[in-house]
């Protein structure tokens, strides 16, 4: 019988396999950041252990850092201590670090692909659940806890039980005005935000093949939001073209060898998945979450569901979510007004995201009562956007243009949504308190966030700017 992409990567990396025990899996790339690593390094020190392969380990600072002027001192001394600890640990254990002064600094899941560190067929781990992002390249990539970070640092391996496999076949093409973000939110909305727990998902089908690499990263990024261990997409010509010429990617003869190796990573035609689901991309519309998990989502032309229309098991959580969100069942999505807009995060902060958002914003002004932020995913994205003049489009519209980091996605720094404020956010989690205590988060695509910033409420981006112009009386 044929093998799936997941099984091929697994078999290549299995160091030791024993029946009924977790396998020992070799890790090709270990990404490290300041929040989930200090206790792991401390563990090594206590036991007098070394980092086995500092050359396969790369660190950056992204979660707790300010996104304002980098020349100013940290306001938050606890965050400063954490960032300093990472710098010290990297020095002591010989690990490459992209610190706040580096042009390669950025969100860990943005920088590894753009530097070409992420490659097909690899195993990649990081103490961060959105490590699933790298699956867009056909790499087995998943988030781990700090104990596992320590284990990988010390042994370059990880103990893992094999996951079940789930194929999501996505047919058709995305309609005009919809995005990869709308697609993944629609899928989570349809199947529920824990339906893939225990599985590694492979996204397949025409709709996936048609996506750019950055769009594929958006899809794989949110695999964890349906509970999946990892998300995978088979590498193809788009993958190889994206990687060609990137800093960490080999060239010349070695490029040909790498390419030959990468082409081995696909699911055989006769391979079998433990579970298969089908999804039609052609019918989706722009999505807006209304609740406190990513599965509580509706289309822009729809209303917040009536409780009687929900399955019995979802009524309790929906009531609780609406109470927190300050919303009523049956209310149209387009009537939800917002105070904050966040364009950023490892889901949607890459150059294509910024280009699309800038296109919407160009020539308009952010609504008076709205505070809007653009936080590029990396310094490289920021520099590229500035070279293209995107920063000026955002700034003239009234957006704040920030330095790279995780920022308001989780509000570990000063970028917070205040109590009962409502934020249109391009991030990945709308959990209670995620962006700040009692903050109300609505997950959307960059285009939808940009349009919401101008209109001050959610608006159907498919009709942008015609309908908006008519409403406000612009010719």
């Amino acid at each position: 019988m044929g093998r799936t992409l997941y099984e091929k990567i697994w078999e290549k990396h299995a160091v030791v396999e024993v029946q009924n025990q977790p396998s020992l899996l070799y890790i090709d790339l270990h990404l490290v950041h300041e929040v989930t690593s200090p206790q792991a390094f401390e563990g090594l020190r206590i036991k007098n252990r070394k980092v086995r392969r500092p050359d396969l380990t790369v660190a950056t600072m992204d979660h707790s850092i300010p996104t304002t002027d980098r020349s100013l001192p940290f306001k938050d001394q606890v965050a400063k201590k954490q960032v300093d600890a990472l710098a010290k640990n990297c020095r002591e254990f010989g690990i490459q670090l992209f610190d706040l002064d580096s042009r390669n600094q950025g969100i860990v899941h943005v920088i590894a692909p753009e530097l070409g560190l992420t490659q097909p067929g690899m195993t990649i781990v990081c103490g961060d659940s959105h490590t699933s992002t790298h699956g867009a390249f056909g790499a087995l990539a998943f988030g781990i806890g700090t104990s596992e970070v320590e284990h990988v640092l010390a042994t370059q391996t990880l103990k893992q039980f094999k996951s079940k496999t789930l194929a999501i076949n996505i047919h058709g093409t995305l309609p005009q005005g919809t995005t990869a973000k709308d697609l993944i939110l629609s899928i989570i909305g349809k199947y529920g935000h824990d339906f893939a727990t225990g599985f590694v998902v492979e996204y397949r089908g025409e709709a996936i093949r048609n996506l750019t690499m950055e769009e594929r990263m958006t899809i794989c990024n949110m695999s964890i939001e349906m509970g999946a261990r990892a998300g995978l997409i088979q590498p193809d010509e788009k993958t190889f073209n994206y990687l060609k010429g990137k800093q960490a990617v080999p060239d010349g003869m070695e490029w040909e060898e790498a390419l030959a190796e990468w082409k081995k990573y696909y699911t055989d035609e006769d391979a079998e998945f433990d579970l298969t689901a089908d999804f039609n991309a052609a019918e989706i519309i722009p999505q807006v979450t209304w609740g406190t998990n990513p599965g509580q989502v509706a289309g822009i032309t729809e209303v917040i569901p009536l409780m009687e229309d929900l399955p019995a098991s979802q009524i309790g959580p929906a009531k609780k979510a609406l109470k927190y969100m300050g919303l009523q069942p049956g209310a149209p999505i387009t009537e939800i007004g917002i105070n904050k807009v966040f364009i950023g995060s490892c889901t949607n902060s890459r150059i294509e995201d910024l280009r699309k958002a800038a296109k919407i914003v160009n020539g308009y002004k952010v609504a008076e009562h709205v505070e809007a932020l653009v936080v590029p995913g990396s310094q490289l994205v920021k520099m590229l956007a500035e070279a293209e003049g995107l920063d000026q489009i955002f700034i003239s519209a009234g957006f704040q243009w920030r330095e790279a980091g995780c920022s308001m996605c989780l509000g570990m720094n000063e970028d917070l949504v205040l109590p009962e404020e409502r934020c249109a956010s391009t991030s990945n989690r709308n959990f209670e308190g995620r962006q700040g205590r009692n903050a109300r988060t609505h997950l959307v695509s960059p285009e939808m966030a940009a349009a919401a910033a101008i209109a001050g409420r959610f608006i159907d981006v498919r009709e942008w700017p015609v309908k908006y112009n008519k409403e406000v009386g612009v010719q």
């Binding site: 401390e42 707790s64 201590k81 010390a154 959990f431």
Partner: protein, 197 residues
């Protein structure tokens, strides 16, 4: 890490689905670089009012639940972020066992690595336990060796756990130490990898 064999104690009910790790330990407490002291921040936004006072409405603040080492939770417990600060906070607060109909993957793994026993039981069984723990002071006995949970009355249920994890928990072994014993396998693997490239 000390080993885990049996445990008898109060069981507290937290009857909420999809409790994510952002709830278990909010992000403002993730900047600490120590592994200890997270218990005081457990469920912070639920446990304390915005003035920092204990919220009398919150389940775990009720008199009968104080000091409980067993938490009965609902489905998809621990979803979201991979932060190990979540099991550190639960353990530091005093929990040793969490019973739920389902757990999120990474959280489940993180618990086992910190001597915290996550037990998955059928939804009806958890519903029964939640009802018991909500209506009266309720004690459970968790026997990991024999994989059985009992109350002081007639309730008894067996649970499953992978033998590997059972052994690791009972003995309180250091997983890294065990892997380091496979050093020659890892080195051979690396040589093989290099030879191919």
């Amino acid at each position: 890490m000390s080993g885990f064999k049996t445990l008898q104690g109060k069981a507290a009910a937290l009857d909420r689905a999809n409790v994510d790790t952002d709830q278990i330990i909010p992000k403002q407490f993730l900047k600490r670089i120590e592994k200890t002291g997270f218990g005081q921040y457990l469920f912070y936004d639920w446990r304390f009012t915005k003035d920092g006072l204990p919220n009398p409405e919150f389940e775990l603040n009720k008199e009968e639940n104080l000091g409980a080492p067993i938490l009965i939770a609902n489905e998809n417990f621990g979803c979201g972020s991979s932060r190990e600060h979540a099991p550190w906070a639960l353990g530091d607060y005093g929990f040793k066992v969490i019973i739920a109909p389902s757990f999120a993957d990474i959280f489940h793994q993180n618990c086992l690595k910190n001597g915290l026993l996550p037990i998955t039981l059928p939804a009806e069984t958890v519903e029964y336990l939640l009802k018991c723990a909500k209506s009266q002071p309720y004690e459970l006995k968790v026997d990991l060796q024999n994989q059985v949970i009992e109350d002081e009355h007639s309730f008894s249920v067996s649970f499953s756990i992978n033998d590997y994890w059972k052994k690791m928990l009972i003995n309180g072994w250091d997983e890294i130490e065990i892997t380091l014993q496979l050093e020659s396998s890892i080195s051979n693997f690396e040589e093989k990898l290099l030879a191919v490239q």
